[in-house]
């Protein structure tokens, strides 16, 4: 059993590259028993890569990792578990039909005589839940459990396998305030049992409330490692955002026109409440905030993919029909969704068919699709957006992320929308293409389109937006003009709900 303060894990100069991209360029991290260790950094800082190396999903290219006094055997998730490292993901995948006790012991059910000893399994699981400070009935079915409780079951499972180090990847992103509190209790109890907890979070208030140690990462390297007493919110934010705001964002100023979109008191109680804002022609408005703060759900409600409960959406002064993407498209709204592979594209279809999907009214001669026009449409947008592909009918699955994203943009720009909603427009694409996408969005605003942009990347938000609405846990915290906004005050508002 580890004693409090024992060094459990030491990473020095760990490097990892994916093809040409460097994800980690010399990261250091030391973790001790009986410690809650927060890992902070903006999107793309390398936190996830680090966790995945420890989880056995990736192998590091350089640097050393030691566990206690033994070198860490990088290999498989199985190997990591055997070395006492357990990972709790944001969305655990339990067996919903089985009892909690069985979920904890699946594949390792205790045996007495010829059969499974259910009583022992239940008692043992109950004991683990009690140790974690949570009252869950081990006999109940996992179905209907909240995400937080599902995570607790995963943690109990990790403990039953003798995990010493528990990694949690943004465990609180999808949780409500009371659920977060519950999870924090669990973390404290793990700490009391001399386990080491590493957790990634963007919610800085809770980070300061619970962690003993804070490591900040930026651009694949460790910026600072401090006991929580030696640092403070302002310092941490500064360390996180030290990223340069380069000329990546060629924002130009354009003429701002009439109101195109007017959202009033919009509520979908499970996700967001009383949201009101408007977007004018030629204007770029950003919805900033953490993942899970209700931003994407607002976009979905406006576009009609989801329904909302109360409030109204008006487009150019006219009330928009609720829950109907068809009506939204008729009012010239376009939505470039956050997940291009699942929501934006038909992966087995070619660029051709993807681009024409929303433009049929312009391609149809009475009943039939005019294939010549369809090809011309593809050619036009291929040229305009310089999308690179060899065969317009070959599956878009073979394209790079950047070219896929441009294809999604193209298909919606082809509908000539008045309001363009872009949700995480540059997620997972390379730097060069990012700049191109920004240029395209800027050009669309220049043409007089109203743009609503959702983004988790602060430099992108600051670089592109005329106005910034900050969301936190489904509520609008504040609205900032381009002049007022800084990385610091956006992070502060998004993570603590306080307006600086």
């Amino acid at each position: 059993m580890a004693q409090k303060g024992d060094l459990l894990l030491q990473m020095t100069g760990v490097q990892k590259r994916f093809g040409g991209a460097i994800a980690l360029r010399g990261t250091d991290l030391s973790i001790r028993a009986g410690e809650i260790h927060a890992l902070l950094g903006e999107n793309g800082a390398g936190k996830s890569t680090m966790l995945k190396i420890l989880a056995g999903v990736h192998e590091n290219d350089g640097g050393t990792i030691t566990l206690g006094n033994k070198p860490f055997q990088v290999g498989s998730p199985q190997a990591s578990i055997e070395q006492g490292i357990a990972v709790i993901y944001q969305e655990p995948s339990l067996f919903l039909d089985l009892s909690l006790a069985e979920n904890v012991f699946i594949g390792r059910q205790p045996i007495k005589g010829v059969g499974i000893d259910w009583k022992a399994a239940q008692d043992e699981a109950g004991k683990l839940f009690k140790e974690l400070g949570v009252s869950l009935d081990p006999k109940r079915q996992a179905r209907g459990l909240s995400i937080a409780d599902q995570q607790v079951v995963e943690i109990a499972k990790a403990l039953s396998m003798n995990a010493q180090i528990i990694l949690m990847d943004e465990p609180t992103a999808a949780l409500s305030a009371s659920e977060v509190e519950r999870l924090m209790t669990v973390m404290k109890n793990l700490k009391a049992a001399n386990k080491a907890v590493i957790f990634v979070s963007h919610r800085l208030d809770e980070v300061f409330a619970i962690s003993d140690y804070i490591t900040v990462m930026r651009d694949g390297a460790t910026v600072s490692q401090n006991p929580v007493a030696n640092t403070n919110l302002q310092t941490v934010i500064k360390e996180m955002v030290g990223r340069e705001l380069t000329e990546l964002f060629p924002k130009t100023t354009h003429k701002i026109g009439d109101v195109v979109l007017e959202v009033k008191d919009l509520s979908n109680p499970a996700f967001f409440r009383n949201v009101s804002f408007n977007v004018r022609s030629g204007e770029i408005v950003a919805l900033a905030g953490l993942v899970g703060s209700g931003r994407s759900e607002i976009a979905r409600a406006i576009f009609g993919v989801d329904k909302y409960e109360t409030g109204s959406v008006k487009v150019k002064g006219k009330e928009l029909k609720k829950g109907s993407p068809v009506a939204a498209m008729e009012e010239k709204i376009a939505l470039v969704p956050e997940d291009r592979r699942q929501q934006g594209l038909f992966m087995i279809a070619g660029v051709n068919r993807n681009i024409s999907m929303e433009s049929f009214p312009n391609l149809v001669n009475r009943i039939f699709i005019n294939f010549k026009k369809e090809r011309a449409l593809t050619a036009t947008w291929k040229e305009k957006l310089s999308i690179k592909f060899a065969d317009a009918s070959a599956s878009v699955d073979h394209l790079s992320g950047g070219n896929q994203q441009k294809t999604v943009l193209a298909k919606w720009l082809a509908t000539n929308p008045d309001l363009l909603i872009v949700d995480e427009p540059t997620r997972g694409i390379d730097v060069g293409t990012k700049a191109e996408v920004h240029r395209l969005i800027d050009a669309a605003a220049e043409e007089g389109k109203a743009i609503l942009m959702i983004s988790s990347e602060l430099p992108e938000v600051l670089g592109m937006a005329d106005r910034i609405i900050v969301m936190r846990e489904g509520h609008q915290v504040t609205e900032l003009t381009r002049a007022q906004a800084t990385q610091e005050n956006i992070i502060a508002a998004a993570t603590t709900g306080k307006v600086a």
């Binding site: 067996f95 010829v114 499974i116 259910w118 909240s146 305030a177 109680p269 996700f271 409440r273």
Partner: protein, 332 residues
């Protein structure tokens, strides 16, 4: 005993039991002949066949698969056994069971290889084998039928054993099979693996469950039980032709689903499957006793099946809504 308390019907099984008793009671009041010793014996003995098959496919359905080939397997095993008996006069009852079991295992193994090995959609595969196996019966039988004279007396005698004047031996055998499988599914790891696989297939792979082996064996078991059901068919009807038990797979699927083994996988018990089979047969029998034409039988089977999956859907939706309400409350 401890394990009996765990097997005690609860929830779904209990409410089905109540419906069962009500159906019997009401029908009995309207038509007293329905509840006589003869009527009950007949009901239980005809339920035996369906119930045995229901026990067989329960693990398959729990794993989120399906086996539609079973009634063809019953036909094949019944005809083959009768044929062998006709040609070997000294065949005894246990040899019939062994042969039938082997035939069933062979069909099950074919299904298992196609579904588990090639990962083909179970429904299409077992529809295909349904046809192939039935076609096989047509071809080898060449329109030859068999009846009581050609069957071993020791086999037919099984049908005459009745306990307490009400429970045919075949039904007792079904109950024993039910208890053994229920115990296995609850207390042995391979049984639990079935639930895990049906509940969350990718996660089952991740925790190292041998998905191929379990799926394959489930199909073999399903085929085996259908094979044995073929002998039960002979015991009950004492005659067989190439269309024996044709088209009855739906009655079995309906029984299992009504008994609480959800089509979506991951839940249900063999006890429920047997109660479901009893209920389906009772409703059929009750309608007959109430003077509803036998021609409506298939329509009733279909309707029962739709109602059963509809009920499951409503329950699932209820739990989704509860979760959403909880989320709304916490967001406030």
């Amino acid at each position: 005993m401890n394990f009996l308390s765990h097997l005690r019907p609860k929830g779904r099984e209990a409410s089905l039991g109540i419906i069962l008793v009500l159906t019997m009671g009401v029908t009995g009041i309207i038509n007293p002949r329905f509840l006589t010793g003869d009527g009950t014996r007949d009901l239980l003995s005809s339920t035996s066949i369906v119930a045995l098959m229901a026990i067989g496919i329960a693990p398959v359905v729990i794993m989120r698969h399906i086996d539609l080939s079973i009634s063809s397997t019953v036909g094949l095993s019944a005809w083959m056994v009768a044929n062998l008996c006709a040609h070997h006069k000294n065949f005894s009852w246990w040899q019939c069971f062994v042969i039938a079991g082997l035939i069933g295992v062979a069909v099950g193994a074919l299904n298992g290889i196609l579904v588990a090995g090639l990962r083909l959609p179970a429904l299409v595969v077992t529809l295909g084998t349904l046809y192939i196996v039935r076609g096989l019966v047509y071809v080898i039988s060449n329109s030859v039928d068999y009846n009581a004279q050609e069957m071993p007396p020791s086999l037919l005698a099984i049908g005459h054993h009745v306990f307490l004047g009400l429970f045919p031996l075949t039904f007792i055998l079904v109950l024993i099979m039910m208890l053994i499988t229920a115990w296995f599914m609850k207390y042995r790891k391979p049984g639990r693996d079935c639930y895990a696989i049906g509940s969350n297939p990718p996660a089952a792979d991740l925790v190292g469950i041998k998905v191929f082996r379990r799926t394959f064996l489930a199909y073999v078991f399903s085929g085996f039980m259908a094979g044995i059901a073929g002998v039960f068919y002979l015991i009950r009807f004492a005659q067989v032709d190439s269309t024996a038990f044709y088209g009855q797979e739906l009655a079995v699927v309906a029984a299992v689903v009504i008994g609480g083994v959800t089509i979506a996988g991951g839940s249900g018990t063999t006890v429920g499957a047997v109660i479901g089979a009893l209920l389906v047969q009772t409703i059929q029998g009750a309608l007959a006793a109430l003077g509803v034409d036998a021609f409506w039988k298939s329509a009733i089977n279909g309707l029962l099946l739709i109602i059963a999956i509809w009920a499951d859907r409503i329950l699932a939706r209820k739990s989704e809504n509860a979760l959403l309400a909880q989320r709304i409350k916490e967001r406030a």
